[in-house]
């Protein structure tokens, strides 16, 4: 009999459990809307969600669905289905997984609870080309319209020129027009209000981050990844604001009481790459050494590293365009590398763990750049190893743990020498 080697992550915070409930409620809402005859949109987490909230549109986010499936260890079956459709193992496991979900003739009861077919697909090439192409297949399969939102890559750093903002804002307007053509009404006043709410959420997220910088940290990335969910699906909503307010309150209390994730915090780690969604317990694995994975880069992929003062409710589309284009995952490299170097310093990180998802065209390309930058600027080492966070078929528990063991042990030895 095979031994089960994966474990769920151990959460420490009450609010992240509440966020978990909000996630389930969100999916139930989408399902109910579809049953009530409302059209449903399929989209991707980096397409600004505020435009969907402003239309009360039920949206299934096709990068979030695979991670939900992954967390239940069901991803392998759906990834396999996409491969049978002709999608090579070289292309993104998230997209293979979602395509498998899209084409599956029968679905697991868990997926069936989350899955609804699309009436409109809105996808982008931000941050990578996978979604813009794989959604084409899904649109064809479900015979539904597709709007492609073209995002220029960021070759400017923080100062995005007006012509680029204008271009992407125009793309957003195109997405709104497409929604209106297909039965949705985007309320522009509501959109403006959502900009205010997003601004508030970003401000709260920065305060949450500040709490996490304290030693010992009151929140590890096991909670952090769930906590980042509102950034991905709930920006521009009161629910997102309320959840972050509660989280901040809980963290402040822990900081005041000096309550860390573990009692004797010896090492602080940061994770770069896709987390092991089918085995979040791997993050807890290092705790036996007194190490905590304080942060994970994926918590920031939907505007988490963003300066909220840039949001102007009077210019909703331009504000959303700026937020999207300046996102750390929008190539090219300066914003990503600067962000990681800064985070390593601010979160007092002792070591960076870089995991390579073989089928990702985006994140593995940053590994060497990030490794060199954090070592050169901060003297902090990085360990890089293969780990596909979604495709459980590729997971090697022994090797992954051995990689973590050797890295953490060498960091501890280095600390002892200091």
């Amino acid at each position: 009999m095979a031994t089960k080697v994966t474990t769920p992550g151990k959460k420490n915070l009450q609010t992240t459990l509440e966020i978990g409930k909000a996630i389930r409620a969100y999916y139930e809402g989408v399902k109910e809307a579809k049953s009530a005859g409302k059209p449903v949109i399929w989209s991707y987490g980096l397409v600004p969600r505020e435009i969907f909230h402003a239309a009360d549109a039920p949206v299934l986010y096709l990068e979030h669905l695979p991670l939900m499936i992954g967390a239940k260890q069901l991803s392998g079956r759906y990834i396999q289905l996409a491969e049978e459709e002709g999608f090579s193992r070289d292309v993104c496991a998230f997209h293979r997984c979602f395509l498998g979900c899209a084409v599956a003739k029968d679905r697991d009861p868990y997926l069936e609870k989350l899955f609804v077919s699309p009436d409109l697909i809105i996808a982008s090439n931000l941050p990578c080309m996978s979604e813009s192409k794989s959604f084409l297949y899904a649109a064809d399969h479900h015979n539904c319209p597709y709007y492609f939102l073209d995002a220029p890559i960021n070759t400017w750093g923080k100062d995005i020129p007006d012509y680029a903002i204008e271009y992407f804002a125009g793309q957003l307007q195109g997405a709104i027009d497409s929604m209106e053509e297909h039965g949705f009404k985007v309320d522009m006043d509501k959109l403006k209000e959502s900009i205010n709410l997003t601004k508030k959420m970003m401000g709260l997220w920065n305060e949450i981050d500040n709490c996490r910088k304290t030693v010992p940290t009151p929140m590890s990335t096991v909670d952090g990844i769930t906590a980042a969910y509102p950034l991905i699906q709930l920006p521009g909503t009161q629910l997102g604001v309320t959840l972050f307010e509660r989280l901040l309150e809980e963290l402040k209390e822990k900081v005041e009481k000096k309550q860390g994730v573990i009692e004797d915090e010896k090492l602080r780690l940061m994770w770069f790459g896709v987390p092991p969604f089918y085995n979040m317990g791997l993050f807890n694995y290092v705790e036996k050494y007194g190490a905590v994975v304080v942060k994970s880069m994926v918590e920031y992929i939907a505007g988490g590293a963003f300066d909220p003062s840039k949001m102007d409710p009077k210019k909703p589309l331009e504000s959303l365009a700026y937020k999207a284009l300046v996102d750390i995952v929008n190539p090219t490299y300066p914003n990503m590398v600067d962000f990681i170097v800064k985070a390593v310093e601010e979160f007092k990180i002792d070591g960076l763990i870089g995991v390579v998802k073989r089928s990702c065209g985006l994140l593995p390309g940053y590994m060497r750049l990030v490794k060199d930058a954090v070592y050169k600027d901060k003297g902090i080492p990085t360990s890089i190893f293969d780990l596909d966070g979604l495709d459980i078929r590729e997971y090697d528990d022994v090797t992954s743990k051995a990689n973590l063991d050797s890295f953490v042990e060498s960091l501890l030895a280095s600390k002892r020498r200091q």
């Binding site: 459709e85 002709g86 999608f87 090579s88 070289d90 292309v91 090439n125 990578c128 080309m129 996978s130 813009s132 192409k133 794989s134 084409l136 297949y137 064809d140 492609f148 073209d150 220029p152 890559i153 070759t155 020129p161 012509y163 680029a164 204008e166 271009y167 125009g170 793309q171 190539p331 090219t332 490299y333 390579v356 073989r358 089928s359 990702c360 065209g361 985006l362 593995p364 390309g365 940053y366 590994m367 060497r368 750049l369 060199d372």
Partner: protein, 368 residues
């Protein structure tokens, strides 16, 4: 030496072109991917030089890129680290696939000897707002080329460059049309070498050679032309070995939709008094690269090739981890197979595993 041999010599020894060009102190600007407008580089008095890889194994680049990045891009970066592109005065990339975006990141960070610039092109075609955005980017690029060369680019000089480059495209297309015949006048491998040599050469030299070649081969018939007619598509092929492999197995490579072939010359610039606008529209009023949208455009174009070149079968040669074509082949496969049998093959840019490829190609050709 016949003109085909001359083309082969240029293809094999591109350094001769560089040496000759640089003799007078003129500059060379390397580039990769089709949204870098060569005409602007040329109008500034510099030689646009399309960078190709080699089938050599990768040595240094694998400690920078993870092995899951496109092997062609890793190969280019390897050559850059090895200073094989040391003759370039600048390198220009554009926004195509994720791998090329990372090539920019790596080059900009680790290759000090040759500065690298990124042209930020839209990936959505036929969109007026995209034209405006691209125009702004190209104006910046034009200024950069003026500064690099020390030469002002005027509308007149740009128009002349457009005319010259269009002439090359027309001549390559005319030569390519000789492959439509039942017995083509030029083989697929000969054509690829000619096309790539023409891309490498100054067009002032390429055009007379192409005219001469058309004249030389127009009454020619290639040998062993009774096999099935193949359309070759997929990732960049910058070496005739794969085409030769298909030909050796009895296929007739009737047409190839490659960055190094048809994609380079299929369209010409539309008449326009504003040469910058002409370049913008030339690049954004067509979907030739699999990275761009709408994809339907590429599907229609493949249909056109199938019809015009009387194609019996399609082979996708996808370089491992070349995401644009790996997606495209999966998306188009079912529809294409309704028209003609289609074979999708994953290949290494370094051309390892040719034996296994040969078996699959042979089986496909026999099946046709």
């Amino acid at each position: 030496m016949g003109t085909l041999e001359t083309m082969k010599d240029i293809f094999d020894n591109p350094n001769k072109i560089i040496e000759e060009w640089k003799k007078d102190g003129r500059k060379v600007v390397g580039h990769r991917c089709m949204y870098v407008p060569e005409e602007i580089i040329h109008a500034a008095g510099m030689l646009p030089y399309p960078t190709f890889g080699t089938p050599e194994p990768i040595k240094k680049a694998d400690s920078y890129f993870q092995p899951c990045a496109c092997e062609f891009v890793r190969n280019l970066f390897d050559l850059a680290l090895d200073k094989k592109f040391g003759f370039l005065d600048s390198m220009v990339l554009c926004n195509t696939c994720d791998a090329v975006r990372h090539l920019y990141n790596m080059w900009d960070t680790y290759v000090d000897s040759v500065p690298c610039y990124m042209v930020n092109n839209p990936q959505k075609m036929y969109d007026e707002s995209g034209f405006k955005f691209y125009r702004m980017e190209l104006e910046k690029f034009k200024k950069l080329m003026e500064d690099l060369s020390g030469n002002k680019i005027t509308d007149e000089s740009l128009k002349k460059s457009i005319e010259l480059y269009d002439e090359t495209r027309k001549l390559l297309k005319e030569l390519n049309d000789l492959r439509k015949r039942d017995i083509p006048a030029i083989s697929g491998s000969e054509f690829l070498v000619t096309s790539m040599a023409s891309m490498l050469m100054p067009k002032e030299k390429a055009n007379p050679l192409l005219r001469k070649l058309i004249d030389e081969v127009k009454n020619r018939e290639i040998k062993n032309a009774d096999g099935p007619r193949i359309l070759l598509t997929g990732s960049i092929i910058d070496n005739p070995t794969l085409i030769e492999l298909v030909e050796d197995m009895g296929g007739v490579v009737a047409v190839d939709d490659l960055c190094t072939s048809a994609k380079y010359f299929w369209y010409t610039t539309k008449p326009n008094n504003d040469p910058m606008d002409a370049i913008v529209r030339f690049n954004l009023e067509r979907t030739l690269c699999a990275c761009a949208h709408p994809s339907e455009d590429r599907y229609d174009y493949l249909q056109e090739l199938i019809r015009e070149f009387n194609v019996d079968g399609i082979i996708y040669f996808n370089i491992k981890y070349c995401h644009p074509f790996v997606y495209e082949s999966a998306i188009f496969r079912k529809k294409l197979e309704e028209e003609v049998p289609t074979l999708t093959l994953e290949v290494d840019h370094s051309l390892s595993g040719l034996g296994q490829l040969k078996t699959r190609v042979q089986a496909f050709i026999e099946m046709l």
